[in-house]
């Protein structure tokens, strides 16, 4: 099977400084990849390279032959902490901006209907005329998820969609992503490996290099082996750290 996205020997970074080196990764249709790793390990760089926002120093990213990059087949949810929350823009306009390249083929009313339908489906239609500065963290995240998926992209890329989100919405979010995954290939960055492990299909650990797991089980031993210094946190009723077996 031809992979949807094929990353070959890629080295990428900023200002001529490589952040991740020699990445090899095949992403297939309907994959749901959780990307984990420490801060500064290159998670966001990997996403930005796939999005075409930064260009590989070495190696290449090949998309499946039927993917037309001109049609912008990738939906993107950036880290919300980088958004200027006091920018004068309404929820409706933010979500509509997800359609910015496909607007020409639709009437204004149809676009409006599409935005309102998606907002209703996500349970936030009543805040559509609010400024984004007035929203809670969870609402904000939902708005940006709507913007990412409104164009029905083939590939969905999410950079820490679970920051600022309370536990209740976190469950909802991952359920929603699970449903979206039926039609979309999802690549999701998270700092919280314990939460995503239950939802994603495969896990990639990024720490200067990339280590790929073809299932969603990952152990502390493996993380240690990859030199991927993050802690496994298990979410039962009370989140708790999973500690290594130790000998008294």
């Amino acid at each position: 099977m031809e992979p949807l996205i094929h990353i070959e020997n890629m080295t990428v970074g900023y200002d001529r400084k490589p952040v991740i080196t020699n990445v090899n990764l095949k992403i297939f249709e309907n994959d749901f990849i959780g990307v984990i790793g420490p801060n500064g390990g290159g998670k966001t760089s990997l996403l930005k390279a796939i999005l075409g926002l930064i260009h590989p120093f070495e190696g290449k990213i090949i998309f499946r032959s039927d993917i037309n990059l001109q049609k912008k087949p990738i939906g993107y949810l950036p880290q919300v902490k980088n958004i200027d929350r006091r920018f004068p823009i309404t929820v409706f306009d933010v979500v509509k901006s997800g359609l910015m390249m496909s607007n020409t083929i639709e009437t204004k009313e149809k676009t409006k209907q599409r935005v309102n339908d998606l907002l209703a489906e996500t349970g936030i239609v009543e805040i559509r005329n609010k400024a984004i500065g007035e929203l809670s963290g969870g609402q904000m995240q939902r708005v940006f998820l709507c913007r990412a998926i409104i164009s029905n992209p083939k590939i969905l890329i999410l950079d820490e969609p679970d920051t600022f989100v309370d536990n209740r919405f976190e469950g909802e979010l991952y359920q929603k992503l699970g449903k979206l995954n039926e039609n979309m290939t999802i690549i999701l960055v998270s700092h919280d490996v314990g939460t995503i492990a239950g939802y994603v299909k495969t896990i990639a650990c990024v720490n200067g290099r990339l280590h790929y797991h073809t299932d969603n089980k990952i152990t502390q031993e493996q993380l240690d082996e990859y030199n991927c210094p993050i802690q496994l946190i298990s979410h039962g009723k009370v989140p708790h750290r999973v500690l290594k077996n130790h000998i008294l």
Binding site: G52, Q70, N82, P88, S97, G98, A131
Partner: protein, 270 residues
């Protein structure tokens, strides 16, 4: 002559009124963008750098506004170049161009033989001395800004809000940024005669801050900013005539008072 309406019989006042209208539209819209995108400091740098061009024009004996346009665009590009290519931190690049322009202006003015009578009107503005040809240029600028913002409103908003997302959607982000920074430079320079280099930032920010008290919708913000800028500049103009004080300062003072009063009203009414 008792009522301000009588003033309209005077040619100089009609010109002043028209420049207030044009300045309100260009500064209202461009300022709305500047404030939303948080590039007030860049705009300040461009404005002050243009003084170098005015000084050069005095020294060489050509139209000061031409010199100002030249230096404004040069500094806008220079700030971009320093930040993106030479990797100098943005606020430092702005400060360098800001002060370089002012320094060159002072040197050129000093080297110019004789007295330079118009210098004060460039520094502090004098809406009553705007010439017919300057009015035409202001009108042309307003027309260009209106066309650009009406036709490309959506991409402008989306790029201002989230440049990276706009790039992933394939919008020509760099091109738009260059067009807008050029429009900012032209807006600043062509309105210098209204309130002056030192005060022009206020027309780009105070009406917008006032408008922002009432709306967070970008489109409405641009329209409201224009209206507040218009109300402030016309009433400032009339106040300056009644109290016989400099027009530029009177306009800014009015804008600040309107902002302050409405902010307080909003604070207590809520």
């Amino acid at each position: 002559m008792n009522s301000p309406v009588d003033l309209l019989q005077y040619d100089f006042f009609v010109k002043a009124f028209l420049s207030a209208v044009f300045a309100s539209i260009s500064c209202g819209i461009i300022g709305g963008y500047v404030v939303a995108k948080r590039i007030v400091f860049i705009s300040g740098g461009i404005t002050h750098a243009s003084f170098g061009g005015i000084g050069l024009a005095f020294f060489m004996g050509f139209n000061p506004l031409l010199g100002a346009v030249l230096f404004a665009i040069l500094s806008a590009l220079g700030i971009q170049f320093f930040t993106k290519v030479a990797e100098i931190r943005e606020d430092s690049s702005i400060a360098i161009w800001w002060s370089l322009g002012m320094a060159l202006g002072i040197i050129f003015v000093f080297l110019t033989p004789g007295y330079t009578p118009n210098l004060m009107s460039y520094l502090f503005g004098n809406i009553l001395t705007v010439t017919t040809s300057e009015l035409w240029w202001m009108f042309l600028l307003v027309a260009v800004i209106l066309v650009v913002f009406l036709v490309f409103f959506k991409p402008i908003l989306y790029i201002a809000f989230d440049e990276e997302f706009a790039k992933t959607a394939g919008l020509p982000v760099a091109l738009f940024n260059y067009v807008i920074i050029t429009l900012i430079a032209l807006t600043v320079v062509l309105n210098i005669r209204v309130v002056g280099i030192i005060l022009i930032l206020s027309l780009l920010t105070i009406p917008q801050a006032t408008a922002n008290l009432f709306t967070s919708d970008f489109k409405k913000l641009l329209v409201l900013s224009t209206l507040f800028a218009f109300a402030g500049s016309v009433s400032g103009l009339i106040i300056s005539w009644m109290l016989d004080i400099p027009s530029g300062a009177a306009i800014i003072f009015t804008l600040v008072i309107v902002f302050g009063v409405l902010k307080l009203v909003k604070h207590f009414v809520r």
